[in-house]
């Protein structure tokens, strides 16, 4: 077996080169070509612009901490929060005392910000996502924030609720995954509405 192992090394090397050309160069280049032509926006990260500037990606969440006029995103474990160069979950266990302390702290913050009853704070306001870049929040977490955003912006809660509904996507095909609200697109719509009102 040793001698046939050595005999196979040279063909192995050449086979690797051939397959690298095929699957490691031709394949990704062809698909990139297709993507750039057929789905330019999506293939480049679904970027969104405001006032002529790129302000983010519709698929990547942003932090709005300390900005009560905006809907808040979920807590994030990506770097210092929503850093796409450091996507990450917290990996804290289900009984972790550290996680428990974080939950307590986040609940207190939500109660202060939104005046929600402590027991009614949405779970995703308390728990970090898998990617740390989750662009969405649950409809419950959005509903919790409607009154505050409306108040800070001087809008009617009905108007804000309508915008929330616009940026809520239901389950995929009606049964896949969970309904969710895109935070960046919603906040952008709020700013646009304010911009046209001025």
């Amino acid at each position: 077996m040793t001698s046939s192992f050595l005999r196979q090394l040279w063909p192995s090397f050449r086979m690797l080169l051939v397959l690298t050309v095929l699957t490691g160069i031709a394949y990704p280049l062809a698909l990139t070509g297709f993507a750039q032509v057929a789905a330019h926006g999506r293939a480049n990260g679904s970027l969104v612009t405001y006032d002529g500037h790129v302000v983010g990606s519709a698929l990547i969440g942003q932090s709005f901490t300390g900005e009560p006029q905006y809907f808040q995103s979920r807590p994030s474990a990506a770097g210092t929060g929503y850093d796409p160069l450091a996507s990450s979950a917290s990996n804290l266990g289900p009984n972790s005392p550290d996680l428990l302390a974080l939950i307590k702290q986040r609940r207190a913050a939500a109660v202060t910000l939104d005046g929600t009853a402590p027991a009614r704070v949405a779970p995703d306001a308390l728990l970090a996502s898998g990617s740390g870049l989750d662009p969405q929040i649950s409809p419950a977490y959005a509903a919790q924030q409607v009154a505050r955003v409306a108040k800070v912006r001087g809008l009617s809660t009905a108007a804000v609720r309508r915008l929330v509904a616009t940026y809520t996507v239901g389950r995929g095909l009606g049964f896949l995954g969970e309904p969710a609200v895109n935070v960046l697109l919603l906040n952008l719509a709020l700013d646009r509405a304010a911009g046209t009102a001025d």
């Binding site: 196979q8 690797l16 095929l22 699957t23 990139t32 480049n44 990260g45 929503y82 995703d124 990617s131």
Partner: protein, 552 residues
């Protein structure tokens, strides 16, 4: 629609889609692997490489080719990472450290895709697409090669030849993996996965902070990552990252892809041994295990036990809003049952019992339904063990698929079954014995033990998912897990090829009234029982100390 209805409907649609592809893909694989004809492009490849496609190899030569090819793969991938700073599109990333480069090279060649690095801050585009993704294709194909060689052992009589490794490898990549990956990648691109060569888009967010939107050839890598049951994410957050898995629809597509080939291969098996019922039987075992675990993990997650999760009111830590508990649990069971190791949610934050069930799923030896090829040969080895156990009970010479199970075969099977637990338990034991490795744990108590156990379980079973709180990028874990991945991949493969060689030498014997039928519900029950009991007996003590202690 409520969560339960939607979740059940989603699982039902997934199963229906797999059932729909079962026959066409399984039969196509049979034709690919048994056809006498080479495509023109394949003939050109054989000429360039310098191999004779008509030469039929002994099991030893087949194994030597496989090992040589994998060895060269490790060296090349190591070299590519070590010289990254000189490559184009390196995004300014430096050369990867030796221990990490070794770990990563082994990880991708062994179809494990354990990642001690964070993709977006370590690997440039060329290493990702021309190094890592190439091994995604190759390692997936190599697994199928070994399964096919074993099947040929059952089918052939009085020969010492098991086929040609190079031909099997090339055909699987050219005729199966590449075309399916193209289709899958196109679908993912249309759903929003990125595919570009961007060096990063720097921008100011709505709230005035700086953010860099990363790019890369993500969709092309994502497709083969799932289809080849590899699991190595372009990004650290893997399939939880919105650029890899943007919507619930892309999520179900990815789950479908990672189950597709392992499931269809049971059809190929049935066709090649000329008794399709044999394929249905092993598929029934795989499906029973998979479905039971989906029910268990989903139930645990929905009930979200654990002090922290109870306080928050849902098991949403480490899970994405768009997937929720149901779509996350479905992905988690499918990825741990197929040796994929891609994750759309982070297993470390699952409930104690939910995470324990995922650990146990890997402990079964990756047969529910297992990796591409490795799942099939894994379950066939267990089937031989089941036949042997049944033979002992009734006092008859055991036989499987008209081949006798003699002392030689059962020795190889026993070694196969013992290899993985040996690696897992020894590795975990060594790590827990020293303060250095212990300090890598993020969580303490039983959950900390689960982190280390999960790492070795994942490495030795070539899964690659993690209880990712563990700081695994240390010299100890990079080297120890690298060795675990190598042994966990190639020791079983060589044993399976030897087994194929042993069966091929035998004459096929006629079935008699005393032959145990290996296609009915009785055998399905027996094989399911043997699979659970072998894993249960091996891992119960350590699971009791880790996840059970945490979850009960």
């Amino acid at each position: 629609m409520n969560d339960t209805t939607a979740g059940l409907l989603q699982a039902g649609v997934l199963v229906a889609a797999l059932a729909l592809c079962y026959r066409p893909l399984g039969s196509y694989l049979t034709r690919v692997l048994t056809s006498e004809r080479d495509l023109r492009v394949e003939r050109a490849m054989y000429r360039v490489v310098g191999v004779d496609p008509r030469s039929d190899q002994r099991w030893q030569t087949y194994a030597a080719s496989l090992l040589a090819f994998s060895g060269v793969g490790v060296l090349a991938l190591y070299a590519l990472q070590r010289t990254q700073s000189h490559l184009p599109l390196s995004l300014g990333f430096g050369n990867v450290d030796p221990a990490l480069a070794f770990n990563t090279a082994v990880s991708f060649v062994t179809n494990t895709n354990w990642q001690a690095y964070s993709g977006e801050s370590t690997m440039g585009h060329v290493v990702q697409m021309s190094g890592l993704a190439v091994q995604n294709f190759i390692s997936a194909a190599v697994g199928i090669c070994v399964a096919v060689a074993l099947i040929r052992g059952f089918v052939r009589s009085r020969t010492d030849r098991l086929g040609n490794f190079w031909v099997d490898l090339v055909r699987i990549i050219v005729r199966v993996l590449l075309p399916l990956s193209v289709l899958a990648a196109i679908a993912l691109i249309l759903m929003g996965a990125v595919q570009n060569f961007s060096g990063g888009e720097h921008l100011t967010t709505l709230a005035g902070q700086h953010q860099t939107i990363t790019g890369g050839p993500v969709a092309s890598q994502e497709a083969i990552k799932e289809l080849g049951t590899n699991g190595g994410g372009f990004y650290n957050a893997n399939s939880a990252h919105p650029f890899e898995n943007p919507t619930p629809l892309s999520n179900i597509l990815e789950i479908f892809l990672l189950l597709l080939i392992p499931v269809a291969l049971t059809r190929t098996f049935g066709e090649m041994v000329e008794d399709k019922r044999q394929g249905y039987a092993v598929l029934a075992v795989m499906t029973t295990l998979w479905a039971s675990l989906v029910v268990a993990v989903t139930t645990f997650e929905v009930h979200h036990s654990g002090t922290a999760l109870q306080a928050a009111g849902a098991a949403m830590e480490g899970k994405e809003t768009r997937f929720g508990e149901w779509s996350s649990a479905l992905f988690a069971v499918s990825t741990t049952g197929t040796s994929t190791g891609a994750v759309n949610s982070f297993h470390s934050s699952y409930t104690g019992l939910g995470g324990g069930a995922l650990l146990f799923n890997m402990g079964l030896g990756e047969v529910a339904p297992g990796g591409t090829g490795s799942g099939l040969y894994g379950i066939l080895v267990l089937a031989i063990m089941a036949v042997f156990v049944a033979g002992l009970m009734v006092g008859r010479t055991p036989e499987y698929l008209r081949k006798k199970i003699t002392a030689r075969e059962i020795k190889l099977v026993s070694l196969y079954i013992l290899a993985m637990p040996m690696i897992v338990l020894t590795g975990t034991g060594i790590a827990m014995a020293f303060p250095g490795p212990r300090s890598s744990m993020l969580n303490h108590g039983p959950h900390g033990l689960s982190e280390v156990l999960y790492a070795f379980m994942s490495a030795a079973n070539n899964n690659g998912s993690a209880f990712a709180g563990l700081s695994a990028n240390t010299s100890f874990f990079n080297v120890a897990l690298g060795i675990a991945m190598l042994l966990g991949r190639f020791v079983p493969m060589v044993l399976v090829l030897a087994l194929g060689g042993a069966f091929a030498r035998q004459q096929r014997i006629p079935e008699t009234p005393g032959t145990l039928p290996t296609h009915g519900p009785l055998f399905v029950g027996l094989l399911t029982g043997v699979t659970i009991i072998v894993a249960g007996l091996t891992f119960f003590p350590v699971l009791a100390l880790g996840p059970f202690a945490e979850g009960l």
